[in-house]
């Protein structure tokens, strides 16, 4: 899809009526297309090229990429820094904001800074505990929680006010996202928590790795009963597991990830485990895309980023659409 008003990289698209951001992700979702987002893991480096190289592998296959904010409580290049680099050449990052490392003063400053650089999507997270990462001795901040963070940014955008009530002369026009984990207990509270997030301002949701499709279906059915599906775009998370061993390690060491035994034994039983992990991922995407209320997919392929394009292609969910990337239109014109 080519918008008639494609911008010069780094310049903003106009905000369409009924939209809250100028972003492509919001446009794709509101136009009813199946959206694809992915996770861009930040480098442990000050070299901008490393960010660009990592972003480029998704070219033509994603509508947005999450610039993660110290995910797993590990230290990497900041999400604001990555977004600065990405927006410069026109990419549409989803700026993750975690409550773990910054208080409300720092966060609101980053929201304005991010929006000024052209970040149109922000994802509000509580964040993993510091015990999960490489700096367990750090002071956890958690001044806000993901819910009050959503509300804070929504008020900045819609009321033009800081949390303190002081006014903002040009509010940040952002599309607000949140995470959801239907796979962690208390299961019957999860749909209600989704309702709270929507009430606090969430417009799109990315979920944790979804391997347990029946559990996810149950979550979606309960969310539908609560009337939530019309109010939010839901993108379940998926990702290829490199081997049964990795899957097992992730299950035991990364907070909030539930991988059923059947998945581990299926991958472990295959000759080419890596390939089997990818096959499973393709199947999951296809299966999830059929579920009522699913608007897209969020692919987290940590250390297998180069496989994302192939996975998306094989799943067929883009239905021939080529998401924008720097230079796409020249390339398409040349073909």
């Amino acid at each position: 899809m080519i918008f008639h008003d494609e911008p010069i990289p780094g310049e903003m698209l106009p905000v369409l009526a009924g939209h809250s951001s100028a972003g492509r992700l919001e446009r794709v979702l509101r136009a009813g297309h199946f959206a694809v987002t992915s996770e861009l893991s930040p480098p442990d480096s000050a070299d901008p090229q490393e960010v660009y190289v990592r972003a480029r592998v998704f070219d033509g296959f994603v509508d947005g990429m999450n610039a993660t904010d110290g995910s797993g409580a590990n230290c990497h290049m900041s999400s604001v820094g990555m977004c600065a680099l990405l927006t410069r050449i026109g990419y549409a990052p989803i700026m993750q904001i975690s409550c773990r490392d910054k208080n409300r003063i720092a966060i609101q400053g980053d929201v304005l800074g991010g929006a000024a650089m052209g970040v149109s999507n922000m994802l509000c997270l509580t964040g993993d505990g510091v015990q999960a990462g490489d700096h367990p001795e750090a002071k956890p901040v958690f001044d806000l929680d993901c819910m009050s963070l959503l509300e804070t940014i929504r008020n900045m955008r819609d009321k033009g006010e800081f949390l303190s009530g002081r006014s903002i002369s040009s509010p940040p026009k952002v599309f607000l996202g949140a995470a959801s984990n239907p796979f962690a207990p208390p299961y019957d509270f999860r749909p209600h928590r989704l309702a709270k997030k929507i009430a606090a301002g969430a417009q799109f949701i990315q979920s944790n790795y979804c391997f347990d499709v029946p559990r996810f279906k149950e979550f979606m059915a309960r969310s539908r009963d609560l009337g939530l599906l019309e109010k939010v775009f839901i993108l379940p998370g998926v990702g290829p597991m490199a081997s049964a061993k990795t899957a097992n390690w992730i299950r035991n060491n990364v907070p909030g990830i539930h991988i059923p035994d059947s998945v581990i034994s299926r991958i472990g039983g295959a000759k080419d485990q890596k390939r089997e992990g990818q096959n499973l991922c393709v199947e999951l995407i296809q299966e999830l895309s059929e579920i009522e209320g699913v608007s897209g997919i969020h692919v987290m392929a940590y250390r297998q980023e180069e496989a994302v394009a192939d996975i998306i292609k094989r799943s067929g969910v883009l239905q021939g659409r080529t998401p924008w990337y720097p230079g796409r239109d020249l390339k398409l014109a040349g073909e």
Partner: protein, 156 residues
């Protein structure tokens, strides 16, 4: 104490009823409290509050009590200080991501809230914590809020 606070959650309905009566009584006492002066009362009342609520709920004296909204499970005991529900890291056995030996505060909150009369209060979005209120009396603040609302009912 961990054991006591888990017991309190199991009896959330009793504490809800008790607190509602207690709050009404305090509101009745408002003219007297006003006479003595809220500012002067804050310290001793906060001490008393800390004693009772500390014993029963492991209260952290945030000064803006939300126990009635959180199934009588004090959400300030959550290592992430979440005021709006469980994080995504809750373990499959229901224990906390950060403290593996502790039951997730929000597992208890959800359970406690469902036996309370006002079981839907847990669905309300809570404001960010006002850290300036740390250590002050939430009881007295509540009384003043209630009295103020009685005098100037908000339109809507």
């Amino acid at each position: 104490m961990y054991k006591v606070r888990r017991w309190a959650v199991r009896h959330s309905h009793f504490f809800e009823t008790f607190y509602n009566v207690f709050e009404k009584a305090l509101v009745k006492l408002h003219p007297l409290l006003l006479k003595i002066g809220y500012a002067r009362l804050d310290k001793p009342v906060a001490k008393l509050e800390q004693l009772c609520k500390g014993l029963l709920f492991d209260c952290k004296m945030c000064g803006q009590c939300a126990l009635s909204d959180t199934g009588m499970s004090c959400s300030m005991n959550c290592p992430k200080n979440l005021r709006n529900g469980p994080c995504g890291g809750v373990r499959q056995n229901g224990n906390c991501e950060v403290k593996p030996l502790m039951r997730c505060v929000w597992m208890d909150a959800w359970q406690g809230s469902q036996t309370m009369a006002a079981s839907d209060r847990i669905f309300a979005v809570q404001l960010p914590v006002n850290h300036a209120l740390q250590g002050s009396s939430a009881w007295l603040r509540k009384v003043r809020d209630v009295v103020q609302q009685q005098h100037e009912p908000t339109p809507k």
